[in-house]
């Protein structure tokens, strides 16, 4: 114990020296070699990318890659989604309603949920969907439902087989693991531009982007499900001479069924959380009023749309979770079976009646205006936010300005105004101290690449915001995490909030935050904190709870105050969890900060978004995406190495 402590102390000393030297060098060389590049300026690399993109664009209708690969994929995906939309959300030709009117869609959704889970969940799902309609978002909600459904089906078609394959074959798993890891730290914003280049803005690109986001999750969970089965039944089947295929079908898949359905749940939630970002590249649905609200004045409508996304998320989560639970406890008595079959028949009949009604009777066809409270709710949200901004401007303006001037600006100027080579040396020394040589080597190479690309300065702008937001996230995460880890009551209170925080798409709170704080970097940081805090709280709470009770009791009986127990025992013992939390926090924050470019945060995210629409910035946008990935990998590797180095304590 004491040797560990002295080692720690030495590391702290090193860090203090490092930061002192860093500050001194920053002061001495301020403004030299900062590699600042004005927005419209290109570097050789970005110019080359620009030209490459131009030539790709010019060849879009002649190059075989487009003719035989991208274009057919685009057509197939688009038609598949449009087919689903034609049934529930998109009126065809001069029609007033899609194939099924609102009541019919509601009944079909209710029936599907009933058939896969329980009556209660089915009623809840229909209630939530109805509530989306009452928010005035019926059409948008069903568009999102169609997009999500389509993307999930396609994701499962690809993800399940790959996941199963990776589950039974070690070599496939070894090949996929780095890709899956990369997918986990890839901020969603960065694959938009390459996809748009291949598939154009529209439904196909949006769906494929959603799939890229959700497929890795599906693969990971499916492979995990198959790998972690009890060995007994497998060995029994093997000893009976079953073939691999038989074992897979008769033993592994049935046994892994529960976890695989859990994977479906996670895949669905991932796809839904992508809807808003997908709206940036032409996805129809709830994302588009949210993006609108950011661009044009419409805070109220953005908030109502965000609310509908939340309701839809709760609905899909409940429905798929209930399906998982049902796979576990099917009541197989003959009365229960009979009752269920009657239920299905009656429900089916009702559904058909509802579908027919929704085609022939007006009130069942078009969502009734008398049920649409969207305008009222939007106006209410506008008033509330207006009131908050007026009343609490000491916080919305005062705190914002204080934070920016005293915390963010100094850090940003340290990172952006110091010569790039000093910063790289310092970051890699930092990596050596807290992570190790490996992490340091990776940092030097990847940050060097950023310099070569020519986006060093913008990368530092983004890094400053990410570090600031992560620091705030960690403070909140540690406080709440320790509270939740020490008290079950606090944990019970926090759980629904954390659940909600984790299912909310990041974009949803961008609208109220923008309304409150204006187009500032602070607004982006607030969003990042919102997004990352729940994960960090969870990890820290887990770590604190994992500290052996004997240690805590020993400290308490030795007369330590609760504060001492926390600072001397619980936090040090769950150090690994804290570091893991910091790692997750960094990655989550990065994903949102780059989106924060939408609310005036600048940096790499702005270049990515501007590159989507400005011809002379398209190459730079692509390069900025790459820089975001490099930055993410560097932060992930350093944090990861330091978590590993601190040993398996606490967890």
């Amino acid at each position: 114990m004491s040797s560990v402590e002295s080692f720690l102390r030495r590391r702290w000393v090193l860090l203090v020296i490092l930061f002192a030297v860093w500050a001194l060098l920053a002061y001495l060389f301020k403004g030299h070699d900062t590699l600042e590049l004005s927005t419209m300026e290109n570097t050789p690399v970005t110019q080359w990318l620009n030209d490459a993109i131009d030539s790709i664009r010019a060849n879009r209708s002649t190059s075989p890659v487009f003719l035989y690969v991208f274009n057919p994929i685009r057509v197939v995906v688009e038609n598949f989604i449009q087919l689903i939309r034609a049934v529930i959300s998109l009126p065809q030709g001069a029609n007033v309603i899609p194939m099924v009117g609102w009541l019919g869609s509601l009944a079909i959704v209710g029936y599907i949920v009933y058939a896969t889970s329980t009556l209660r969940t089915s009623l809840l799902s229909m209630g939530l969907l109805l509530a989306c309609g009452m928010l005035g978002m019926w059409m948008f909600t069903l568009d999102t439902l169609a997009m999500t459904l389509g993307a999930v089906v396609l994701s499962l078609l690809i993800g399940l087989p790959l996941g199963i394959w990776a589950g039974i074959n070690d070599r496939v798993m070894a090949f996929m693991r780095p890709l899956l890891d990369l997918a986990q730290i890839l901020p969603t914003l960065v694959y938009l531009a390459p996809l748009v280049l291949a598939f154009l803005i529209g439904i196909a690109a949006a769906t494929i982007a959603t799939m890229i986001y959700s497929i890795p999750i599906c693969i990971r969970i499916t492979a995990h499900a198959i790998r972690n089965l009890r060995a007994g039944p497998l060995e029994a089947a093997e000893s009976m001479g079953s073939t691999k295929w038989q074992i897979l079908r008769k033993v592994q898949l049935p046994m892994a069924r529960r976890t695989i359905i859990l994977g479906v749940n996670q895949t669905t939630m991932a796809a839904l959380s992508f809807v808003v970002i997908a709206a940036l590249i032409g996805a129809p649905g709830l994302g588009s009023p949210v993006v609108d609200a950011l661009m044009i004045r419409n805070v109220g409508k953005g908030v109502t749309a965000g609310l509908a996304v939340v309701l839809l998320a709760v609905m899909l989560d409940r429905a798929t979770t209930a399906a998982v639970i049902r796979t576990e406890n099917i009541d197989d008595s003959s009365t229960a079976r009979r009752r269920r079959r009657i239920g299905l028949a009656v429900g089916g009949a009702l559904t058909i009646v509802a579908v027919i009604l929704s085609r022939y009777v007006l009130w069942a066809a078009v969502f009734p205006q008398s049920l649409d409270f969207g305008k009222g709710i939007a106006a209410f949200a506008d008033t509330v936010i207006g009131w908050i901004t007026e009343t609490f401007d000491f916080f919305t303006e005062g705190f914002n300005e204080w934070f920016t001037v005293t915390m963010l600006n100094p850090l940003e100027s340290l990172l952006t105004q110091t010569p790039w080579w000093i910063t790289i040396i310092m970051i890699s020394l930092l990596a050596v101290i807290i992570g190790g040589r490996g992490a340091a080597a990776i940092s030097v190479v990847l940050l060097g690449l950023v310099v070569v690309i020519g986006l060093w300065n913008d990368t530092m702008v983004t890094l400053a915001q990410v570090l600031m937001a992560t620091a705030v996230t960690m403070i909140i995460g540690v406080i709440l995490g320790v509270m939740a880890g020490r008290s079950e009551r606090v944990e019970r209170i926090l759980k629904p909030i954390l659940d909600a925080g984790q299912t909310l798409p990041a974009f949803v709170y961008l609208v109220p935050v923008l309304a409150l704080f204006g187009p500032t970097r602070f607004a982006a940081i607030v969003c990042g904190v919102f997004y990352a805090a729940p994960v960090v709280v969870r990890i820290v709470a887990d770590g604190v709870r994992g500290v052996p009770t004997e240690m805590v009791e020993a400290a308490t009986s030795a007369g330590s105050t609760p504060t001492q127990v926390i600072t001397k025992v619980q936090l040090p013992a769950s150090k690994r969890s804290l570091l893991l939390g910091a790692n997750q926090g960094l990655i989550f924050v990065l994903a949102v900060i780059v989106i924060g470019a939408y609310v005036g945060a600048g940096g790499l995210g702005y270049l990515v978004i501007a590159g989507l629409s400005k011809p002379d910035l398209q190459g730079k946008g692509l390069a900025a995406g790459l820089a975001i990935v490099l930055l993410g990998v560097v932060m992930d590797r350093i944090a990861h190495a330091s978590a590993n180095r601190s040993g398996p304590g606490g967890h």
Partner: protein, 354 residues
Amino acid sequence: MMRTARKTAGLATAFGALAVVLAACGGGVNSASSSSEAAASAPAASAAASAAASAAGSAAASPAASAAAAVPCGDWGVAMNNWVGYTASAEVLTQVAKQKLGCNITQTKLDEANVSYDAMEAGSVDLIIEDWGGGRWKDWVDRGAIQEVGSDGNIGLIGMYVPKWMAEKYPDITDGTNLNKYADLFKTAESGDKGAWYEGPPGYTTIGQKIIDAYGLNFKAINVGSEQALIDLMEKGQKDQKAALAYFWEPHYYLANDTVARVNFPANDWSDAKKASGKTDYPKTDLMKLATTKLMESGSPFAALVKNWQWTNADQNSVALDIQNGATPTEAAQKWIDANPDKVAAWLQGTGAA
């Protein structure tokens, strides 16, 4: 257990399939509005249909009862670029096309310029009603998929603006080359020790950074996310006598209030933002209509409408202001259409609409 589960699943699937099949056949609410004869021969159904159409808002097509166009209009896509003025123009055009010509119009949200051009080339939209970039579409036009269809009647002018009180207090601030003198006034937490130069949102045509570089202005370009952020800045600036320097453009309903003053740079000498030197101001531009060759050669009455379409900055501002004040684009467009039958009639010449 496996067998019963399968049976139950089969039952469920069968019902589900039946529901969808039922939905696919039969006419119902839709067929009442899908053709003008049906509407004419069954008044009750037609009333129901139009009620349905108005209830469904912009997503629904009105029955074509009043507009028996000689040639069927067909399905067309309109690009929706992201500013209120554009929305006003596009929505009025869409409503006229739907109501008077029975067209089926799909609006697709797209960023301006190459994103929209690519979409036109790929065939997913057919029209940009207001394009700002003088000739930046040349590559696409050369490849043949897109055509210029002439001016839409609006005259566009981008520029940098300050709240009016500043121009009154510091008269020479309206000359952009004097900006350095006042840079200190514009300092904010966001811009640090430089003045804050608020640029338009990512998708817009901007050359602010070029101007700052060309004149060595002690300003930092801050890219705001939205049109609204710019308006908020100016409103607050004028109300609280705060300094603000922000990107705006005509036609814009907010400029029509006359609470801002333009900061001028030497007269413009460029039309393609790519080639701007940064020494000169944004140009006055005839805003252009761009359409796909497919649309213009289709013989559809919609093509004729697009060709005829023109309105003034004041027209656009009036519709945009209504949208701004809370009307849906469809409601605002309808109000203007009802108030301007002559202009609408002029657009419809040669389309065959009554």
